[in-house]
Symmetry: C2
Subunit: 111 residues, 2 copies
């Protein structure tokens, strides 16, 4: 079992930010460093509940982060260090991305 890749399952409702993205070829080292830092920084934010993330060999990735409420999502989006990463992402790291904000209503697991 590799349950550590899975986020916790708090009682709904809570929020999911679904970030699907296609990496550009540019700047793999800079991207990797920023990605690690954003994981670390997100975990320090009020209302952060966890995240799940994966990417295939073609560079298509999905990261879902989970948050207590809309207030915590908006605070994270406007975090100063995160804003710099968002801007670099738009300019350099991603060919395309879609971000969707959704309210989790129910959840179940294999076991």
């Amino acid at each position: 079992m590799t349950a550590s890749r899975f986020a916790p399952m708090p009682a709904p409702p809570y929020y999911a930010v679904i970030f699907s993205n296609q990496r550009a070829a540019a700047d793999p080292a800079g991207y990797a460093q920023a990605a690690d830092r954003m994981v670390e920084l997100a975990a320090e934010q009020p209302g952060f509940l966890g995240a799940e993330s994966t990417r295939d060999a073609d560079g298509f990735g999905i990261t879902v982060s989970y948050w207590q409420d809309e207030t915590s999502i908006r605070a994270w989006k406007s975090n100063a260090e995160h804003r710099i990463a968002q801007e670099t992402g738009r300019e350099r790291w991603y060919e395309h991305f879609i971000t969707r904000v959704a309210k989790v209503e129910r959840a179940y697991a294999l076991k």
Copy 2:
């Protein structure tokens, strides 16, 4: 651009089914065949809006399917051929999974 990996962006609200999963080592050929078939079958269901899916080399995958409403999600979950795949998934294909049903409230893209 590889926009074909991305699902469409209909006007919210609509629903997301976030399926995060860890593949077991067993039965790669059977799994691949069933996964392809489920994509094909899902696309035929009423209310299906699209899906995004990726998996890394360690077998950790995230698939997000998008649906018009709860009714279409429940109908897909109870589809006879899908139920057989779900059962085989529980027994053989997945070490662990979490399914979360969430209502998409807003979305934005890089461009």
